[in-house]
Every structure is written in C-alpha cells, then in structure tokens.
Amino acid sequence: MLIRSKKSSEISESSTTPESIYLQRREILKGLGIAASGLILPGAAQAGILDYFSSKEEEVVADRRRKLSATLNPAYQPDWQLTPESKVLTHNNFYEFGTGKADPVKNARNFNTEPWHIVIDGEVDKPFKLSMEELFKLFPLEDRIYRLRCVEAWSMNIPWVGIRLADLIKRAQPNSNAKYVAFETLHDPKQMPGQSSRHIGGGIPYPYVEGLRIDEAMNDLTMLSVGLYGKTLAPQNGAPIRLVVPWKYGFKSIKSIVKIRLTSQQPPNTWNITNAREYGFYANVNPEVDHPRWSQGSERFIGEGGILSVSREKTKMFNGYADEVASLYSGMDLRKNI
C-alpha cells in the first residue's frame, strides 16, 4: 500500500519543498479531491476523507518525475477537457505491474529507469543505441494533446510530451527492406513482478511486443512520449519512453521501450498472440467493428468529477484522426484487418 502515516518526528513537507513545487502538489491534491468527492458520504466518514488527503500527500513525496521544457505544437492543441493528472497517474493498464487498474501505480513505485538505453536496429543502414540523455539532446520535445482510446471502451485526453517517431527512425536510415517497425518493452522480472508471476501478470507472454507498418510509424501523429503534464513519465505510464499512436487502441502504445527494430515481415504483437479473435495487428479505433465482448460504438470518457458523473461519448472513426490517417488504409477491409 502507498499509505504511510507520518511520524510526528518528521518535518512537514511544506518546510522542505520549494513553494512552486509544493503548490503544484496542491494542484494534484485538488484533483484527487474532486475524485474523492464524487461519492457523497455521510458525516461520520468525513474524518476518513481528511486522513486520505494527508496520506495522499505522502504519496507525492515519492514522485520522482522531473519538469520538462517542450515547445507547444499548435497543430495538436485542441480545446478539450483534459483528464485530470491524478487519474492519468492512477488508472493504468500495464500488466508488467499487475492486471488491476490501480496496481501499476503501487507496484511500479520503485521501478528504476536509470540508466536506460534504447536500440534502433534491423533493416537500417545506421543502427544506433541512445541513452535517454542523448535522446533529449538530439531531439526537440513537443507538447501535444491527444485522445487515448482504450480497447476496453474508456478514453482520456492527455497532454503528452515527446518526439516524432519518424525523426528517430530517419536518423537510423531505413533501407528498402524496412516495411514494418517492431517494438519491445524491457524484460526485467526482478523489477516487473508481472513478468515472473502468472497471477500478477495476467498470463500474457513477456516481453511485451508491438508493431506498426512503416507508413504508420512515419506518420506525423505517431509519437515517442517521454512525459505528460509537463513532467517526465511516471513508471506506471511507461517511463522513461513509450509509444503513442492516437488513432489506434491503447494497447498498441507500448510502454518502457528498449528496442525498436525495422523489419521486412509483419512483427508479432502481444495481445494478438494472446487472443487473435479479439485483438488484431492494426487495432485501429473503429466504432463500426465491435469487440467480441462489448460495443466499440461509444466510450466512457474519464474526465473530472467522481464516479457518478459518467460521460458516455460516441466513438469516432480512427479516434477522430481520420483526416490524418484514413488514407493509410484505403482499399483495406477494416472488418477483417482488426
């Protein structure tokens, strides 16, 4: 559990923290407060809510995220209601750290991502390996707001920080055999309990792998994210570097990437290996094609407010990015190529 009660001998957090950071934390707490007040509880339970606030504050102390400076990309700054940061940080699918939505934030707390290297190889003329520091030096960071649509029919609006995947791939100079891009998550069962325990990790094969067609990978929308809400990624969000492909279901956006390989053949992807009937290679958001177990016609948007303020919205073709990507699939049967 995250909750740790403060010993009276410990100095208060506000006296050890620069004010700007402290105020930021207050903002997070405010976000959590909104989440908590969604359920109206009888008077007697109020003390519990206060306790909850003080223990949440302790949780923020463990936050190892750093501020990032990035340039706003005006093309991707829609005027949307954002999903509160507190919810982006505590509602995650990252089976390496447990199958429950609240598992990753707990189990990934001590995930060590330093040092971290990412390798780009395969069908390229100039394979290379970069540390995160080198990556930050080579590529300018951008702020972009994207909608994330999970295959489980919920969605979030998230302000990402990252680079264009195309820029990274171009640097490796792909050769003419490069038709696909394969991605791989870190395999480290000591740090990722789901990889060593079937029970925690839901029994999917590890390491988690994903893939894109080269034209999908080179599309301007496709991002390698290194942060969100102006800070580096928290472990549960896929620190230190993850894919973001906003017109595809969330499981395509592989987390904590260590390897990117350009290939001539279509690479495997984890959920397709696990259950080919339910999850395909393309996984384009498509309200017309249902998941075998639920409708993809609408989605539950996770915004501000508590659980009782449910907002069910119509799902858009390609998650609303049809103008940018529909041409990639012209002539393709999207019912067959799920």
């Binding site: 559990m1 995250l2 909750i3 959590l32 989440a35 908590a36 359920l39 509880l41 339970a45 519990g48 809510i49 909850y52 223990s55 949440k56 509160p84 507190s86 919810k87 982006v88 940080l89 505590t90 509602h91 995650n92 199958t99 429950g100 939505k101 609240a102 934030v105 489980e152 919920w154 079937r198 029970h199 839901g202 029994g203 999917i204 696990t274 259950n275 249902d290 075998p292 177990r293 639920w294 409708s295 016609g297 609408s298 539950r300 996770i302 659980i307 009782l308 449910v310 907002s311 069910r312």
Partner: protein, 200 residues
C-alpha cells in the same frame, strides 16, 4: 446459535458494502474505480452464492439442521450483491444508455449468462417469503432448483468476462463443480423428470 450466525452474516455481507466504500475512498482502486467496483460487486455475489450452496452439504455432514435457517438470508444477500453488480455496470460503465444496455445484454454471450442468472435470482428473491412458498406449492421447489443452473452459468460468465486471466475463474469453476457433484443424486432426479416431460 442461529441468531448469532445470522448477525455475523449481516455484519459480513452488509459490512462488505462499507468496506467497498472505504476502498473507493482511500484510492485503492485508483483514479477511476469503475471497473474495480464492478469486479468487486460481482465477486462478492459469487462468494455469497457459494456460501448459500454450501449450507445443504454442511447440514448433511454435521446433521445440524438449524443451519438451514440461514440459507435464505445468504441467498438474499447474494441477490443484493448481484443487483449492485448489474446496477454498477449499467450506471457507472454504460451511463444508463438503455438502448446500448439492451443490445449488449442479448448480444454478448457472457452478458447473456450473467443477466439470465440475475433474472433467476430476482425470481427467487421475490418468491423467498413463507407466503409465496405456500402459494406456489410444488412450483416453488421447481423455481428454486434453478439455482443449480445459476451455479453453472455464473463461473462461465466470469471466465468469459476476463481478458487473459484464467486461474481465478478456474478455481471458481472447480468450486461450483464440487458443489454440484455433492448434489449429483438430486440433480440426476431433476434431469430425469425433465426428460420424462420431454418424452411425454
């Protein structure tokens, strides 16, 4: 003794609601607890179904007939939790989109199983009073034997609803198979009666 046991059941099955609220409030379910609430209410209903179905074999084994008197209470609580499970799915997940709810309930095999089971539990809960028992006579027993069908449908509903996990659903399937095996004579009798009706 039975009174004491009934108090314990009220405390446990009712107290679990308080526990659920505490879990939500403490942030144990994360920033968006909807999925976890649905799982929690569903699993509690399954556990109560197991408890209800355990009464008869335990009475047989211990010869302590008084225990039969807690079966209805357990069954009612099972229905209450199954109803919260259904309600949280309909309200919190689907946002009470009734047209979506009605198409989903008939379109998705795991929801067909879950919803049919809930309808059976509803019928059993409505007819759970002494007066209803007297009024329905022989039909009452027939209706309430449908709980064996629920015991088959529900673990499959759970298995089919999961994404990749099968360990826990398999444990539940094993438990329900066990609960049905100890009743094999009674179930064989029901099947025989059904067969003879079909033949006639």
């Amino acid at each position: 003794m039975v009174i004491l046991l009934k108090i314990v059941i009220h405390l446990l099955a009712g107290g679990t609601f308080a526990y659920l609220f505490l879990l939500i409030d403490s942030g144990a379910f994360g920033g968006d607890p909807v999925k976890d609430i649905i799982h929690f209410t569903g699993k509690t209903a399954i556990n109560l179904l197991i408890a209800t179905l355990l009464v008869t074999p335990v009475v047989k084994f211990t010869k302590y007939g008084q225990l039969n008197r807690v079966r209805r209470l357990l069954g009612i609580y099972c229905f209450v939790w199954a109803s919260s499970h259904f309600a949280t799915f309909a309200f919190l997940d689907l946002g009470l989109d009734l047209s979506l709810l009605s198409t989903e309930l008939v379109k998705r095999p795991y929801l067909v199983l879950g919803f049919s089971s809930w309808l059976i539990l509803l019928a059993m809960a409505i007819t759970s009073t002494q007066a209803m028992m007297l009024r329905l006579k022989r039909r009452w027993k027939q209706l309430h034997q449908l709980v064996y069908l629920v015991a088959i449908l529900i673990p499959i509903h759970y298995l089919w609803s999961t994404k990749s996990e099968w360990i826990e659903p398999s444990i539940y399937i094993a438990i329900f198979v066990g609960l049905l095996i100890v009743r094999h004579q009674q179930i064989a009798k029901i099947i025989n009666q059904l067969n003879s009706k079909v033949v006639a």
